[in-house]
Symmetry: C2
Subunit: 360 residues, 2 copies
């Protein structure tokens, strides 16, 4: 009598590389090469394998791949962004890339970030290999330093001031704000109000800089009273717009540093019995959900959040896996294109107002 063979593991499982290899008449190794689209496989062989894959409906097992590949890569996404919409879009991009690259994404809410050192310790304990930092955390100097000291690769997203030691994926906030302001000027506006973003985000200053440059390039005298502080919340937009419209010479257009504040400006205009855009033009920034939710829909700047998340995730995965080569400074900071999104909230300046702020 022979020894009873061990019972095979339970459950119907899908086909494996071995099955495909058998079906194609090659070795599992070759199947692996085809799956990973490595070069050095004869076209004929490749085709046979591909046919077998289709025939069997083979799908690689990610768990096995990462185990064997030793590609364990765990990236933490630290977020403290009040905007669920931003987070959602960011997550979709990051998640897609993570699954493609087979990296494990750890999502951590840092809203009440007490002690950065404590956080870093927890990350290390959890074997996190790198950290994704969307705004506003991307601008937290203390956190940045603590992470850097711990030797963790970092990607700052949408920061206005990339750290030397970090990766960064941004858009050109200054240029975008410049373009938007230029658009308003082109529409004949001369008194353009500006609602600034939160001062703890470096991008806020860049947006203001773009606004100011467009003004001065057009020969318009900047007017301090037209610039109000906001903090990216609707509430702060309400206050800022209220102040702007209470001015003896109110602006004919308001450019808010994000869409929530722009929406607030629209609401205030309505309460003042001003039609948007007939009596007041309003523009935002970010192309968040709010921009298309309210009426009229807000002209804004589209920030490719999902794409930025994808790129940042890929950057970190490469850094962790050492495929990135010597991390050249220039390649570490990627700038993506923004998009001007003209919608229904801005229009030509009212005729009577056209000569108001002019230097003539």
């Amino acid at each position: 009598m022979t020894t009873t063979p061990r019972k095979p593991r339970s459950g119907k499982r899908g086909p494996t590389v071995a099955d495909v290899a058998r079906c194609a008449g090659v070795s599992p190794m070759t199947v692996s090469r085809v799956i990973n689209s490595e070069p050095n496989v004869m076209p004929a062989t490749r085709e046979k394998v591909e046919a077998a894959i289709v025939a069997l409906g083979y799908v690689p097992n990610p768990a096995a791949r990462s185990l064997a590949g030793g590609q364990q890569c765990r990236i933490a996404l630290l977020h403290a962004n009040p905007s669920a919409a931003y987070l959602s879009e960011f997550l979709m991009g990051s998640l897609a890339q993570a699954s493609k690259l087979d990296v494990q994404l750890i999502v951590e809410d840092c809203d009440l970030l007490a002690d950065p050192a404590e956080l870093v310790r927890r990350l290390i304990d959890h074997r996190v290999d790198a950290v994704l930092l969307p705004p506003p955390l991307c601008d937290d100097e203390v956190l940045l330093k603590a992470l850097h000291l711990a030797g963790l690769p970092i990607a700052q997203i949408a920061t206005g001031r990339p750290a030397e030691f970090a990766y960064a994926v941004t858009i050109d906030d200054e240029a975008a704000a410049h373009a938007m302001t230029g658009r308003l000027i082109g529409l004949g506006h001369r008194r353009i109000g500006f609602v600034a973003g939160a001062t703890n985000q470096t991008a806020s200053a860049l947006r203001f800089a773009g606004y100011a440059r467009a003004l001065s390039e057009a020969g318009l005298t900047p007017d301090d009273r037209l610039v109000r502080e906001g903090d990216f919340t609707y509430r702060s937009g309400l206050v800022a717009a209220e102040a702007l419209l209470a001015l003896p010479e109110p602006p004919t257009a308001i450019f808010a540093s994000n869409d929530d504040m722009a929406a607030a400006a629209v609401a205030v205009a309505h309460r003042h019995r001003l039609e948007v855009p007939r009596d007041l033009s309003v523009c935002g920034f970010d192309n968040s959900a709010m921009a298309t939710t309210i009426w009229p829909e807000i002209t804004t700047i589209d920030q490719p959040v999902a794409e930025m998340a994808r790129r940042a995730t890929a950057l970190l995965a490469e850094a962790v896996r050492g495929r990135a080569g010597p991390p050249a400074f220039v390649a570490r900071h990627i700038q993506l294109a923004f998009k001007m999104l003209p919608r229904a909230s801005d229009a030509c300046a009212p005729p009577c107002a056209q000569n108001h702020g002019l230097g003539t």
Copy 2:
């Protein structure tokens, strides 16, 4: 000369069960038992192992676990929800549970769902084991049937009409709407406008039913003119509120079936020079970002979206892994508690209006 030993695999890797076992003086098997908190391990042994885990900073390798455990479980999250905020919260819950249970989550955007059959085929091809259906897809009969026919376990989230063959995680929409309407009645409102939700979501009908029941329980005669159709968009809320306030006898309160429409009602009120809540009370549903973004913040019903996502994900994982036992009908439909969130958008009815719609 002995044969040169094979070069070990590259990269510093963390400690493994073997390391922990060595350090604790037990077998890897015992370490595994402790990690998985199985019973049948002597307390003393357990403590030794736990100490070793801490000392070495051991963290289990999820890839290895799922490979060895044969627990491959792939759950698809099909979404077509226009609200990024909802999706974001849902994702957070689902993701957390997925990582805890070691299931792979596939997130798929089905906004332009052409052919359900085609989609099902793709899911099967991708070896998806089960499907998570948040609204409005949870109510898509055709999709539901196609999925069921393919033998895929399904979890409907926030549906108003759970299918017999599916798992479902819901709140009691009828009771919630009843509570909200009751609150308004308690505040002295007698003419309460209602903005209905999209008809393609079964929860919409339940919310209306709750409103109607509260009215009739209070002895108030329902008035068709006070009920307007909406489709959950801000735009539709604008139209509905406009119609409601144009009534010869306008309502003193508006209960919208979601927060976006409630926000629209607030905007319309403001354009009509009505103060909210002084001149008009407005309530919403869902506790979405919009509810706390605008001013005044909207009284609403909190739906525990993240928790619902967690539960649904867990339900499916159990179903796939067959730990669920015989799927008893009753346990397949879970109803979670909603929460009434009183905020700043509702108040007592204006004194003069109190006697308006009364039957007396």
